[in-house]
Amino acid sequence: MKDPLGRPPARLLVPAALATLLLLVPLVALVVSTPWSLLGEQLASRDLRLALWLSVLTATVAMLVCLVIGLPLAWVLARLEFPGRGLLRALVTVPLVLPPVAAGVALMAAFGRNGLVGAPLRELTGLTLPYSTAGVVLAHTFVSLPFVVLAIEGALRSARKEYDAAAATLGATRWWAFRTVTVPLAMPGILAGMMLGWARSIGEFGATITFAGNYPGTTQTMPSLIYVSMNSNPEAARSLALVLLVFSVAVLVLLRDRWLATP
């Protein structure tokens, strides 16, 4: 059907087509160039199993940590009025724009063996976070937290504040209202936020390799494994990248209703 506003201008359509190609071609190339005949063998390799397991484990733990500390922070941002709230929200978004490698360096400055928090922690408890699985979780949590907090804050805001007032008139404490009304109403957004955080953790590379290193079995996650494979065995790297692509697409499908359905 003819658009009554006239033909869409070519100077918009051409760049749009370019953008589409840029997004599409690498994915197609990855699928096409994957050594399908060797795929089974490579997917059975011990390194991949260890890295995949570690990625899923650390991303899941990081997601749960993000929920436990991020949901309260999102609630504070969505429900409380206080000076500096804008500043706090800006702080939350910093890891979004901070290069992950820089995040890794910052984490090292804070939680490294001689770091601001790391040194007293080591002296008091003997625990050190860098180059440990816990360090991977910490790095993942740091970079994923903004996704989780911002998504949940949006969900909490759309769960009308009036329901809190209704709960209060019925005798609910704020904590009770949070548990029985606010969270259930915001649940779809909370789940979406957790999913986003999980996907971000799965793809996390810079901060993790900087802060936690790259030891198979303890700190080598999928992206780190792909990175080292790229130098030694590019074909294996492609197979591994394909696995991550499938993961990403799976997450996208799970979030489909939320994002792709927008008109």
């Binding site: 009308r160 009036e162 329901y163 007032a165 209704a166 709960a167 209060a168 008139t169 019925l170 005798g171 609910a172 404490t173 009770w176 209202a177 029985t180 009304v181 259930p184 109403l185």
Partner: protein, 325 residues
């Protein structure tokens, strides 16, 4: 529990005093934007205000919302959408620490009392407006409030539904031992459900009294129109008369009744078996309400813009000296 003594100010919205005794049902009426809703929300604590709300020796204004023990029925109900009707009604008792089974029992009995016993397992999205309002009233009463605040509970309901609910509501409120404040812009609510009426205009109390007092001596034109009375203010006295006492004529009436006006029909609406006609009189005179039979309306060709004469017999007029000063 003793009486209620309210003196509250919501800056820029309302500054009002309310007095009520145990068992009273006070209708709070007034035009849109007068501050009625702000007043009850301030009493409940959901809108910040200064002043005091004395109830049974406690000053509620100093307490957080949850400790005020005030039941608030919201205009749009605000039933929790993720809970079924039973859990909505049980919410208050549960929040105050009542065991689950007991709370559900209490909730079930309240749902039965408001005639919504068969809706227990429905979520708010599956309820009609009237059903949702019943559940909302049950929810407020199940939390055992000392004071019940109803903010326009009938608005947004179909006329037929509102009539049924109004009758039920007046029964529940008659049984309820606490004090009820009912915000409404509908005079029928005020005159049928309440035993006291508080009129608020422009953020201030302009009249308070029994429904009969307010209906017979409305303090302002707005109240008069609300209760369906004509008010004509003269230099030294004010006249009130019922819409049915007004006769309309197509031509200047013969004889010389003292009370007569010419004007233009502004509005014609159905009112029971009669038609209610609003006449805007010439020369900046009063706006009159007249009830006429459909036959008379047809004969006169009543429609907006039609020029008519209106007369009232002196014998059907109540006259009192103006006290608005």
């Amino acid at each position: 529990m003793s009486g209620l003594e309210v003196d509250l100010q919501v800056p820029g919205r309302v500054h009002a005093q309310v007095h009520a005794e145990a068992g009273d049902v006070v209708a709070v009426i007034g035009p849109n934007g007068a501050g009625k809703s702000s007043l009850v929300k301030a009493i409940a604590g959901t809108v910040p205000a200064t002043g005091s709300v004395l109830l049974g020796g406690r000053d509620l204004a100093t307490l957080p919302i949850r400790e005020r023990r005030v039941g608030l029925v919201f205009q749009d109900q605000l039933l929790f959408p993720h809970l079924d009707a039973l859990r909505n009604v049980a919410y208050g008792p549960r929040a105050r620490g009542v065991a689950r089974a007991t709370a559900y029992e209490v909730a079930r009995s309240w749902l039965e009392r408001v005639g919504a016993g068969d809706l227990a397992d429905r979520r708010p999205g599956e309820l009609s407006g009237g059903q949702a309002q019943r559940v909302a009233i049950a929810r407020a009463l199940a939390s055992d409030p000392d004071l019940l605040l109803l903010d326009e509970p009938m608005s947004g309901l179909d006329v037929g539904v509102a009539i049924g609910l109004r009758l039920e509501l007046s029964c529940h409120l008659a049984e309820y031992a606490g004090i009820t404040l009912l915000v409404t812009h509908d005079a029928i609510d005020a005159l049928t459900v309440a035993n006291r009426v508080l009129v608020i205009e422009d953020g201030q109390v302009v009249q308070s009294g029994t429904p009969a007092e307010v209906a017979q001596h409305p303090a302002t034109d707005h109240v008069a129109r609300l209760v369906g009375l004509n008010v004509v203010r003269g230099p030294d006295r004010t006249l009130t008369f019922a819409p049915s006492a007004v006769a309309l004529w197509a031509h200047e009436p013969v004889g010389s009744p003292r009370l007569r006006w010419s004007g233009e029909v502004a509005q014609v609406t159905g009112h029971g078996a009669a038609l209610r006609v609003v006449v805007r009189t010439d020369g900046g005179g009063p706006e009159l309400i007249a009830d006429v039979t459909p036959a008379a309306a047809t004969e006169l060709g009543l429609a907006p813009g039609r020029v008519v004469w209106a007369t009232v017999k002196e014998t059907s007029v109540q006259s009192f000296t103006d006290r608005s000063g």
